[in-house]
Symmetry: D2
C-alpha cells in the first residue's frame, strides 16, 4: 500500500485552450496509473496544485504534516522539479521512519512525449523497496535527499 | 550500470503497414529510454525478437548464457508475458549472484496507450535496488520467480 | 450534415490484450471527432466491423443500400484499404446524386502514430465540397473511383 | 501542388523543459505531414513564429506578400486562432485569384491530444478544391473570410 500526494508541478500542467497557456486542472495520476495498468494499492490525495517555484513554507508544512498523518509508511509525492530538493529537506527534518520518494517530470504528462509515466513507474517501485528515508527519483535514478541538486542549466538532477 | 536484454514480446510488437498485421522490427528500447529521459547507464542487446509463445529451450539457454556472461550484476530483460514465468525459472536454475528483473507489456509500446514505459521505469528501478535473485516486474509490482503466475483469463500476474 | 458509415478496416483495429493480437471492438470515430474538435453535424452508423479482405458482396450491397437510404447527400465511409477500390466501384454502380468519400488508414488509430486523424479531417472536408460522385480520400489526396488503384507493394493509392 | 506558410500560433507551440513554459522552436509541419502520410506535393516556408496576439501589421504584410509571390495558386497558412480573422481580412484585401486557407489548433500539436492533425488534413483538402478566395478551416468546417468570427469565450469559430 502506497500513499500518493499530488502537489502540482510540470507533471500535471495542462493546456488551457481558451486562455492559450499552461494551467493546472485535475491531476492526471489516476489516468496514468490506469495506463500503466498499475496494481499497486494506492490512495491518492491532492494537497495543492502549484508550480514549485511558487511553493511556500506553509505548503511544505502541509506536505510534511500529511506524510506524518498518513497510515502508510511508503509515500510518493509528485512535485515540480525546481524546488523538489527544498521540499525533500523539509521532509527529512520533519519526518522519520517512512520511505518518501519525490518525483516529477520535465515535460507535462498531457504532452504526448512525457517522461512522467516512466518516472511514476520508477518512483512507485523505489518507494516499495527502499529503506526509510527521503529520496528523489528522476530519470530512472534515485538520490538521497541530501546528496542531490538540480542543475538549472541542463534541467537534470545530479549527485552531490 | 544495468544490462538490458531484449527478447521480443508484446512490448516491441509493431504494425506492419504493408501486410496489415503485427510484426517485430527493431526494439523500441532506446526510444523509450530517451522519452523517459533515463540517465541510468545501460547496455542494450537484442538476443532475439520472438513472441514468448514461440520461445524455445534453446532461446532460454541463450538468455541464461548472456546473463552469466555480462559484466554487470544488474539485469533487465524485456519478454513476452505468456511464458515470462518459465524463463524466470530457467534463470533461477542457471544463474546466481545477480539481480535479474523480467518485464513486458500488455499493449505494444508503439500503441499510444502502452503500459510499457511505466513497466520499464519500474523494472529498471527494482533492478537497481533489489538483492540478487530473479524477479518479475509488472503493473508496478515485483514478484520472486517462484511466487508468481500469469492469470491467462485476466492477463494479470498474481502472487502464488 | 454528413453521414458517416463505419465498416472496419485498419482504421478501427485495436489490440486485444488477452489474446495478444489485433481485433475489432467499438469504432474510434466519436473519439476522433472529439479529438479533432469537429463541429460538423454528423450521424455515425457502424454497418460492419471487418477487415476489407473479408468483405463480401453482401457487405457491399449493405453499404450501397445504406448510402441510398440515408437522408444526407454527403457521406463518408471508413473502410479497409485493401478492397476500398472495389467498394467504390459498387457504390458508383449502385448510387447517383450523392457525394461519397471513402477513407481509411495505414496504421490503426489506436496506435499513437496513425494517419487516421489526418485522413478523417481530409475526407470530411472533401465530402462537404466535392460534386456528386464516388471518391477515395487517402494521404491528403482525392481520387475519382475509376481513376485509382492501391499499389500493394508500397501500400499507396495511385492515379490510374 | 500546395504552398504552406507557417506563422506560429498554438499549432506549433512546444514545451521548453529548461524554462518550464510554452515556446516556439521549429515547426512541426514536416513531422505532421509524415505522420499523416501526406502525398500532396508541398513547399513549406516559415514566415514567422509568433503568437497571433503579437502579430503586427508588418507581419500581415509579409504574409500577403508571400502569398502573392509564391508560384502556386493554392495556399495553406498555419496561424494562431486569436487574430486569424484579421489576417484573413488582410489577405482578402491584398490578394486575388488564389485559394488561401488559414488553419490552426486549439491545442499544440506537441500535446498528444491535438486537433492540429485533423485541421491540417482538412485545410489541405479544402485548399485543393475550393475556388479562389480566402477561407478559414477549423473544426472540420470552412468559412469565407468575411463570414466568420472567433467566439472568445468558447474558443470556437462561428458563422456571421
Amino acid at each position: 500500500m502506497v500513499c500518493i500526494f499530488v502537489t502540482g508541478g510540470t507533471f500535471d500542467k495542462t493546456y488551457d485552450e481558451i486562455r492559450g497557456g499552461l494551467a493546472f486542472a485535475d491531476t492526471h495520476l489516476p489516468e496514468m496509473l490506469r495506463l500503466g495498468r498499475s496494481r499497486i494499492e494506492v490512495t491518492i490525495r491532492t494537497l495543492m496544485m502549484v508550480d514549485s517555484l511558487d511553493m511556500t513554507d506553509a505548503n511544505r508544512e502541509l506536505i510534511v504534516h500529511n506524510c506524518r498523518q498518513c497510515a502508510q509508511s511508503r509515500i510518493v509525492i509528485t512535485h515540480g522539479t525546481d524546488t523538489m530538493v527544498e521540499t525533500a529537506h523539509a521532509l527529512a527534518q520533519g519526518l522519520t521512519g517512512k520511505t518518501v520518494v519525490l518525483t516529477g517530470a520535465m515535460i507535462p504528462y498531457a504532452f504526448g512525449s512525457s517522461d512522467g509515466l516512466f518516472n511514476l513507474g520508477s518512483a512507485l517501485s523505489f518507494a516499495q523497496v527502499l529503506p526509510a528515508g527521503v529520496y528523489i527519483a528522476m530519470n530512472g535514478q534515485h538520490f538521497e535527499w541530501d546528496k542531490v541538486r538540480k542543475n538549472k542549466e541542463t534541467g537534470v538532477f545530479e549527485s552531490l
